[in-house]
C-alpha cells in the first residue's frame, strides 16, 4: 500500500523512473530497492522488468542489497585521496568493523565510497545519508559515528 502511495506521487511516465526509484529506496528502512519495488515500478510505468532492472543496476546510487540506516560514503576522488581519504576509509572500516560495501550487524551503518562530492575545498569529505562533512580527520570520523549511535 505504502508503495502505491509513493508511486502515485509521480506521473506514470517512463521519464520518471529514476525519480521513482529514488523515492522507493528512500522509503525503505534498509535503504535499498527490493524486488517488489522494481516490479511495482515496472507495473506502474508499464515497462518491461528488464528495463527497470537494467536502470537500477546501472546507476551506483541504487542498491539491490539491504543496507544500514546510515549510508556512510567517503569520497575517494583524487582531491580527497590527496588529502588522506584512504586513511579515513581504513579508520571507518576499523571503527565500524566492516569492509567497504558491508553493513554493520546492528543494521546501523553501511560503509561505501563515493565519487567526487564536489566539496573538494574542504577535503577529505564524506556524507552520512544527505548530511555532508568536510575537513575530516580519523578522529572526527569516529566522533560522527558515535554521535549517530547515540542518536539511535
Amino acid at each position: 500500500m505504502e508503495r502505491i502511495r509513493i508511486l502515485k506521487k509521480f506521473e506514470p511516465k517512463r521519464e520518471n523512473l529514476l525519480l521513482l526509484l529514488h523515492a522507493l529506496q528512500k522509503n525503505n528502512r534498509q535503504n535499498y530497492l527490493m524486488e517488489e519495488d522494481l516490479k511495482s515500478a515496472a507495473q506502474y510505468l508499464s515497462l518491461p522488468p528488464s528495463l527497470v532492472h537494467g536502470a537500477a543496476t546501472f546507476y551506483s546510487m541504487y542498491s539491490l542489497k539491504p543496507r544500514g540506516q546510515y549510508i556512510v560514503r567517503i569520497c575517494q576522488s583524487p582531491p580527497c585521496h590527496q588529502m588522506g581519504s584512504s586513511d579515513l576509509i581504513e579508520e571507518a572500516s576499523r571503527a565500524l568493523g566492516v569492509e567497504v560495501g558491508e553493513t554493520t550487524p546492528d543494521g546501523l551503518f553501511t560503509l561505501e565510497t563515493s565519487e567526487c562530492l564536489g566539496i573538494c575545498g574542504v577535503a577529505p569529505a564524506m556524507t552520512v545519508n544527505e548530511e555532508v562533512h568536510g575537513n575530516l580527520t580519523p578522529e572526527r570520523v569516529r566522533a560522527i559515528f558515535s554521535e549517530k549511535r547515540r542518536a539511535k
Binding site: Q43, S46, P48, P49, T57
Partner: protein
C-alpha cells in the same frame, strides 16, 4: 534521398545520402568486417570492429556513420588493421573464448574473424571470471562466458520481437545479459520466439536441441512456410540427414521479416507424442495392425453416407482429395467464418497508432502478430488496448486493460486513435455487434487455424455434432473427444499420433506429421502459401491424398467387382 558522390578506398561511388558507410561498401562489393552489426537490427556501433577512416580525427564505425557528400573513406590501413586486431584481442581475452570446447566452433562469427584477421595468440591473459550457465530454459542454453556483449540478442528481443525480456544489467566491465530481473530463463516472461539464438554470433546462446549435432553449414537449408497458424511465417529450416537441426525465421520473408514464435520454431521439434507408424484396426476390442490394402479396403467399405471432419490445418491439396471422395460431406471441426469480416492485413499493423486486441493472448498464439504490435506499443510509439476476461499475458505491457463487460470504455479509448486496428479471433455475439458499429476501425481477423480460409474457400462448413449411425472420418493432428461429437457411429481417425484420444475410433490411420508433407494453404492475408516437405515420413505413413487415392482404387475395384457380380446375376 539525394545521391551523393563519395570515395571508398579511392573508388568513386554514388550512393544515397544518409546511408551508412557499411551499407554502401557492401553494395559495392567492398568488404568491411563486422560483429555487433546485423542486417535485421538497427546499427549499434559497440564492437568497433568495422572502424574506418572517414575524415579527420577518430576512426568511425562504418555500421553507424552515414555518408556525406565528398566523403573519403579508407577501409584498410595499418592503423585500421591494428585497431581491429586490438578489438579481437580485447574480446578474446574478456571471457572464455577457447574455441575448441565450444558448441559454436565452426559457426562462430568471432572465431571466423580471428582466422580472417590473422589472430595468432592471446595478448591478454584471458578468462578471469566465470559465470554459471543458465540451463533452465527448455529450448535455449545461456552461457555468459561466451558472451561478447554485442547485445544483438537484447536488440532482437526488443526491437524485432517486441518482448524486452532480455536486457543488460550492471555497467562497464561488469555488464551481463539480464533476463527480466535476473530471473532464471525458464521463470522469465520469455515467449520462446528464439530470435536471440538466431542472432547470437558466438556460443553464448545455443539451441539445446541442435547442440553437438552438427553445424549449420553441414545442413541443408530449406526455405518454407510455417503452417502452425494462419500468419504463415517464412522459415529457414536446417536439415541434416533426416533430422531437423534448427529452425530460424526467414529475414527476407515479407510476412514476418524474421520473427517467428515458439509454435513454429520449437514446439513441433519437441512433440513427444507417440507416432502412429502403421494402420490399426480394433477387432473384437483388440488393436491389430493392418496392411495398407486392408485398411483402404475397410475404409472403402464404409463410404456410403459417410462424412469427414477435418482440422483447419489441412492443406488445400488434402482438402481437394477428400472432397473428391466425400463430395459435399466434408466438414470442419472448428468454426470457419469470421465473426466479423476482416478489413485489414498484417501490414496495417506497421503504421497503426492504436491496437484493440480482443480476447487473444498474442504471447501464446499468433506470436508474430504479437511481436509486430508489441514492438511498437512498448516503446510508446502506439497504444495497446486489451479487452479480455481472465489471464492474458499482454496485460503486463499496457495500461489499458478492460473486461469484456467494459468494452465501451475500451472503445472510447480506442476512438482517440488515428489509425485503429481491432485484432480478434472468436468473438461473443454481443461483442461482435458492438464492434460492427465502429466502422472507422480496421479489423484484423485471426483465423482459427492455418488453413481456415482455405476451408472457407472450399465451401467447407462446421460439423454439427449429432448422433448418427453413419461412419465418420476425422482427419487431424490434435483429435480429441471424438465420441462426444458423434455417438453410435463407426469412427475412423487419420492422424500422425497414437494418443489415447484417437483410440476412441475403430480404425486409426497414420498420416504425416508437420514437416513430413508439402502443401499449400491460404494465410490470414489471403495469400496462397506453400510449405515444403522437410523430412521423409516412415514407411507405413501416407499422406491424406495418398490414402484417398488408395481408398478410391479399392472402391473402384469393389464397384467393378460388384459390377461383375451384378453382371453375372
Amino acid at each position: 534521398m539525394a545521391l551523393v558522390k563519395i570515395k571508398i578506398d579511392g573508388k568513386e561511388l554514388e550512393a544515397e545520402e544518409g546511408k551508412t558507410i557499411l551499407k554502401v561498401a557492401q553494395a559495392n562489393g567492398i568488404e568491411i568486417p563486422t560483429l555487433c552489426d546485423h542486417a535485421a537490427l538497427l546499427p549499434f556501433g559497440g564492437c568497433r570492429l568495422c572502424v574506418v577512416q572517414a575524415g579527420p580525427g577518430a576512426l568511425k564505425p562504418a555500421c553507424a556513420t552515414p555518408i556525406a557528400s565528398n566523403m573519403e573513406v579508407v577501409t584498410d590501413s595499418s592503423e585500421i588493421r591494428e585497431a581491429r586486431m586490438m578489438v579481437l584481442q580485447l574480446l578474446f581475452g574478456e571471457r572464455n573464448h577457447y574455441c575448441m570446447v565450444c558448441e559454436s566452433t565452426g559457426q562462430c562469427e568471432l572465431q571466423d574473424l580471428g582466422y580472417k584477421l590473422g589472430l595468432d595468440h592471446f595478448e591478454f591473459f584471458p578468462y578471469e571470471k566465470r559465470f554459471s550457465e543458465d540451463v533452465t530454459h527448455p529450448y535455449i542454453l545461456v552461457d555468459q562466458n561466451r558472451c561478447i556483449l554485442c547485445r544483438r540478442c537484447v536488440r532482437a528481443c526488443a526491437d524485432v520481437g517486441g518482448h524486452w525480456v532480455l536486457g543488460v544489467k550492471n555497467r562497464g566491465y561488469e555488464s551481463l545479459i539480464d533476463i527480466d530481473m535476473d530471473a532464471p530463463f525458464n521463470d522469465s516472461s520469455c515467449t520462446s520466439c528464439g530470435l536471440c539464438v538466431q542472432v547470437c554470433p558466438t556460443g553464448a546462446l545455443v539451441d539445446k536441441r541442435a547442440s553437438y549435432l552438427g553445424r549449420k553449414d553441414q545442413a541443408d537449408l530449406i526455405l518454407s512456410r510455417c503452417d502452425r497458424c494462419p500468419v504463415g511465417c517464412g522459415l529457414e529450416v536446417y536439415r541434416r540427414s533426416n533430422y531437423i537441426l534448427k529452425i530460424y525465421g526467414d529475414w527476407n520473408c515479407p510476412t514476418n521479416g524474421g520473427v517467428t514464435c515458439r509454435l513454429s520454431r520449437y514446439a513441433p521439434l519437441y512433440d513427444e507424442r507417440p507416432r502412429l507408424s502403421t494402420p490399426k484396426l480394433k477387432e473384437a476390442g483388440v488393436w491389430t495392425p493392418a496392411s495398407a490394402e486392408k485398411t483402404a479396403r475397410w475404409m472403402a467399405g464404409k463410404l456410403i453416407n459417410a462424412e469427414v471432419v477435418v482440422e483447419g490445418s489441412l492443406s488445400n491439396e488434402d482438402l481437394a482429395a477428400l472432397k473428391s471422395l466425400f463430395g459435399e460431406r466434408v466438414f470442419s471441426l472448428q468454426d470457419v467464418a469470421p465473426p466479423l469480416p476482416a478489413t485489414a492485413k498484417l501490414q496495417d499493423l506497421a503504421d497503426a497508432d492504436t491496437y484493440l486486441v480482443i480476447g487473444v493472448d498474442l504471447n501464446r498464439e499468433y506470436g508474430t502478430v504479437g511481436s509486430l504490435i508489441k514492438r511498437r506499443t512498448i516503446p510508446g510509439t502506439a497504444k495497446l488496448i486489451l479487452v479480455d476476461d481472465g489471464f492474458n499475458s499482454l496485460a503486463a505491457s499496457t495500461d489499458f486493460v478492460f473486461s469484456m463487460e467494459d468494452l465501451d470504455s475500451a472503445l472510447a479509448e480506442a476512438r482517440k486513435g488515428r489509425k485503429v486496428v481491432i485484432v480478434y479471433s472468436h468473438l461473443r455475439e454481443t461483442v461482435a455487434e458492438a464492434l460492427r458499429a465502429e466502422s472507422q476501425f480496421l479489423r484484423l481477423f485471426l483465423p482459427y487455424e492455418s488453413n481456415t480460409l482455405g476451408l472457407a474457400q472450399a465451401g467447407i462448413g462446421p460439423h454439427i455434432a449429432a448422433d448418427s449411425e453413419r461412419t465418420v472420418f476425422f482427419v487431424g493432428e490434435n483429435l480429441r473427444d471424438l465420441k462426444s461429437r458423434v455417438r453410435g457411429a463407426t469412427l475412423v481417425a487419420l492422424t500422425p499420433f497414437e494418443t489415447d484420444e484417437v483410440k476412441a475410433a475403430d480404425l486409426i490411420v497414420p498420416i504425416p506429421a508437420v514437416f513430413e508433407s508439402e502443401g499449400s494453404f491460404i494465410s490470414m492475408d489471403g495469400e496462397l502459401l506453400r510449405k515444403e516437405r522437410i523430412l521423409e515420413p516412415g514407411e507405413g505413413v501416407r499422406s491424406v491424398s495418398a490414402w484417398v487415392a488408395l481408398v478410391e482404387a479399392q472402391r473402384l475395384q469393389s464397384v467393378v467387382a460388384k459390377g461383375k457380380q451384378g453382371g453375372s446375376q
